[in-house]
């Protein structure tokens, strides 16, 4: 399948660039850590409150990080008209989208897995016996963020005021992801009954599947001028 190869080539290009420049890695790691600390300060010293807010803080940090990650990946593309040249190749736009999505998601997934223990330590929360389920939760949640971020970052890339526009457009759409991910991981670390996580995880999965189809199909309209 040539199209799958194209997806992989675009994803590899984005990851290779990131491995060279480390711009996103540094920015998002630092940013998420700062967000976690600031939210912890804002909550105060109440240990119970901190424990209950842990997953909320983690997901807020990840939501902002996904904005940075997606915007930066287009920043690298736009220099010297490289993305423009890429789009004159006989590559389906959907493959370009899926490639960029794969790179962004892979990165965000890894970031989530790194930030999870950091959050648990900072907020004094315990992972509990169901912690392995946190991995798919982070996977589905970061995929939801990446889906919308990569589409909208491509849309805002050549608009005025793109830095502030992207979060304004993206966040209302990913509210269900944020709520579902916070609640699912909350019940997995023992803040609520663990069975409740199932419904939220199904909601996350449903969102991801719907938007994989929608965004892939519509990406061509976003990058064509």
């Amino acid at each position: 399948m040539n199209d799958l190869l194209a997806v992989w080539l675009v994803a590899r290009k984005d990851l290779l660039q990131e491995a060279r420049s480390k711009a996103v890695t540094v920015a998002t790691l630092f940013f998420s850590a700062v967000t976690l600390v600031v939210i912890a300060f804002a909550i105060g010293a109440d240990t119970r409150l901190l424990r209950e807010a842990a997953m909320g803080a983690l997901w807020v940090a990840l939501a902002f990080a996904s904005v940075i990650s997606a915007a930066q990946s287009y920043q690298a593309d736009l220099e010297d008209g490289a993305f423009d040249a890429l789009l004159t190749l006989p590559v389906p736009r959907s493959a370009v989208y899926l490639g960029k999505l794969l790179a962004n998601w892979g990165f965000m997934f890894a970031l989530g897995l790194v930030m999870l223990p950091v959050t648990l330590v900072l907020y004094g929360a315990e992972a509990g016996p169901h912690w392995p389920w946190l991995v798919p939760t982070i996977g589905l949640g970061t995929l939801g963020f990446a889906l919308i971020a990569v589409l909208y970052a491509g849309l805002t890339a050549n608009l005025r005021a793109r830095e502030s526009l992207l979060p304004v457009l993206m966040f209302p759409v990913v509210v269900p992801i944020l709520l579902a991910a916070v609640r699912a991981s909350g019940s997995l670390v023992g803040l609520a009954d663990v069975e409740l996580a199932t419904g939220w995880l199904l909601l996350l999965g449903g969102f991801d599947l719907v938007y994989v189809v929608l965004c892939t199909a519509m990406y061509g309209y976003v990058v064509e001028e």
């Binding site: 849309l155 005021a161 579902a180 969102f207 309209y221």
Partner: protein, 247 residues
């Protein structure tokens, strides 16, 4: 070259008649809601806010759905008319959902003792306003009309697709599952036949208002398009005038 002489600036008579009909029906709807229908067992006369509030909210959601429908139609066949319809519907959705929020706040003050409650449906409506504002920001930032239509159509479809998820999440997050509680849309209220018919009547009136504005917007859009075409025609070089350059 097109001239402006064939542009009809004024509203046709049937639209004026339609507007008059709406005013009359609105008066009837107000009578039905305020006087004719009985007070609620639990909420007393507060129930009367519901007739305006719920009918507006319903039409607001229908308007968002239709925005996405026209947007998809525009992406599919690229007729400027579909873009005009999508914007018109989005404008009405923004208006109706803002009214829903105001209505919801009026309703929740006496019933729930607070102006703002994180009730699922009210939260959803607030999100919908935020999503629609995003749609209009994007439209304002793109200059080229075709690109503006296409890009904002993508936004409209993403927005409409997120509403069911937003609804589900807001519902689960705040209230208890299928809530037959005093939901702010009155869905939990025992709906006596008289109440239901008053509500349906008011919904039809709100729907007629929506449809009237849509038709009027298309009329304006057509005038805009004619003027625009005339302007472009002045700049453009008519095809074939110089002959095809063959190499």
């Amino acid at each position: 070259m097109t001239t402006n002489t064939n542009v009809r600036w004024d509203r046709p008579v049937w639209m004026k008649a339609w507007a008059a009909l709406i005013v009359a029906l609105f008066a009837v709807g107000a009578y039905l809601g305020l006087v004719w229908s009985p007070p609620d067992v639990n909420q007393g006369n507060l129930i009367r806010i519901m007739y305006a509030h719920v009918s507006v909210a319903w039409i607001g959601f229908v308007a968002v759905g239709l925005t996405a429908f026209f947007a998809a139609l525009y992406l599919w066949r690229g007729k400027r008319r579909d873009d005009v319809l999508a914007v018109a519907s989005a404008e009405m959705a923004l208006l109706f959902s803002s009214l829903t929020i105001i209505g919801g706040m009026t309703y929740s003050r006496p019933t729930l003792n607070t102006f703002w409650t994180w009730d699922a449906k009210l939260t959803l409506t607030a999100l919908m306003v935020a999503l629609l504002v995003g749609y209009f920001i994007v439209r304002a930032l793109v200059d080229d009309p075709v690109r503006r239509g296409r890009v904002s159509a993508v936004v409209a479809i993403v927005v409409a697709g997120s509403l069911p998820f937003n609804y589900l999440a807001a519902e689960w997050f705040r209230t208890l599952h299928p809530s037959r509680a005093i939901a702010l849309d009155g869905s939990g209220v025992t709906m006596a036949p008289d109440m239901l018919s008053a509500l349906l009547f008011n919904t039809v009136v709100a729907g007629l208002v929506y449809a009237w504005f849509m038709v009027d917007r298309v009329r304006l859009g057509r005038i805009e398009a004619q003027l625009e075409d005339a302007r472009v025609a002045q700049e453009a070089v008519p095809s074939g005038k110089r002959g095809v350059v063959r190499v």
